[in-house]
């Protein structure tokens, strides 16, 4: 399933679109510590985190995740939004906590 399809199905708020229409989700990864994410998230994972800052955008690019999903209604500041746009990173947002969100994504994507 593409990031865009997932966003529609779960009614996720699109903060930046990036490559949402093209990127397929092959897994989910949940963690807020960036060094752990960098080392362990796989390419094409949907990465769920509360860490909405510019470094998270850089980590998303490095780890080549399919998208960042900010849980618990966490926001992204303007500078980070600009960075995400420049780097074609899709950032989504939801009021759900990380566990609920990952459970729903796993169901919808049959993971």
């Amino acid at each position: 399933m593409t990031v865009l399809e997932l966003a529609k199905q779960l009614n996720l708020e699109m903060v930046t679109e990036g490559e949402a229409a093209e990127r397929e989700i092959h897994g989910v990864y949940c963690c807020d510590l960036l060094s752990i994410v960098m080392g362990r998230a796989k390419a094409d994972d949907a990465w769920i985190t509360v860490m909405g800052n510019i470094n998270a955008v850089a980590v998303a690019v490095l780890a080549d995740v399919a998208c960042i999903i900010l849980s618990e209604n966490m926001g992204l500041d303007e500078e980070s939004i600009q960075k995400a746009k420049e780097q074609d990173v899709c950032v989504l947002k939801s009021e759900l906590p990380t566990f609920e969100l990952s459970r729903k994504i796993a169901d919808i994507c049959s993971l």
Binding site: D32, L33, S35, I36, M38, G39, M51, N55, L62, A63
Partner: protein, 141 residues
């Protein structure tokens, strides 16, 4: 030595948000050279962790990168406080990063272990009060 590309970067010790510029630039160069994505990922992660370390612990420094057809060599030099116990610093989870750094999502004690994990060779030369030089090599073939 033919076919050697040399790149050099200054890491600004003040600015957390700019950390990653060297990594992004090297990544772009490697992509243009047609280096395999898994090799690029290794270089990019190892270098980004190095940059972050230089910002957190050493008030910046200089990074020299050499790209040959066989490998990517990265040398990160700083004049920071140095690492008192390198063996301990290499342990996953060991961190001396301050709280404000942790609130940004770093300081998990994974920096040096990740650098070791993603480089094929790594050496650390550090003297307390003088600075640290980390050399990393990633093989392309």
């Amino acid at each position: 030595m033919e076919n050697l590309i040399k790149l050099s970067y200054e890491v600004d010790g003040e600015d957390f948000t700019r950390a990653g510029e060297a990594s992004a630039s090297v990544k772009k160069s490697l992509r243009k050279l047609g280096v395999p994505p898994d090799v690029i990922r290794k270089v990019a992660i190892a270098l980004y962790e190095g940059e972050i370390n230089m910002v957190i612990h050493a008030e910046g420094g200089v990074i020299d990168v050499e790209i040959s057809p066989e490998h990517v060599t990265m040398v990160l030099r700083d004049h920071g406080k140095g690492i008192a116990d390198v063996e301990k610093a290499m342990q996953e989870g060991y961190s001396t990063a301050p709280d404000e750094v942790r609130s940004l999502g770093f300081g998990a004690g994974m920096g040096l272990p990740n650098m070791k994990k993603y480089s094929d060779e790594m050496t650390i030369d550090s003297t307390v009060g003088v600075g640290t030089t980390v050399s990393m090599t990633v093989y392309i073939q």
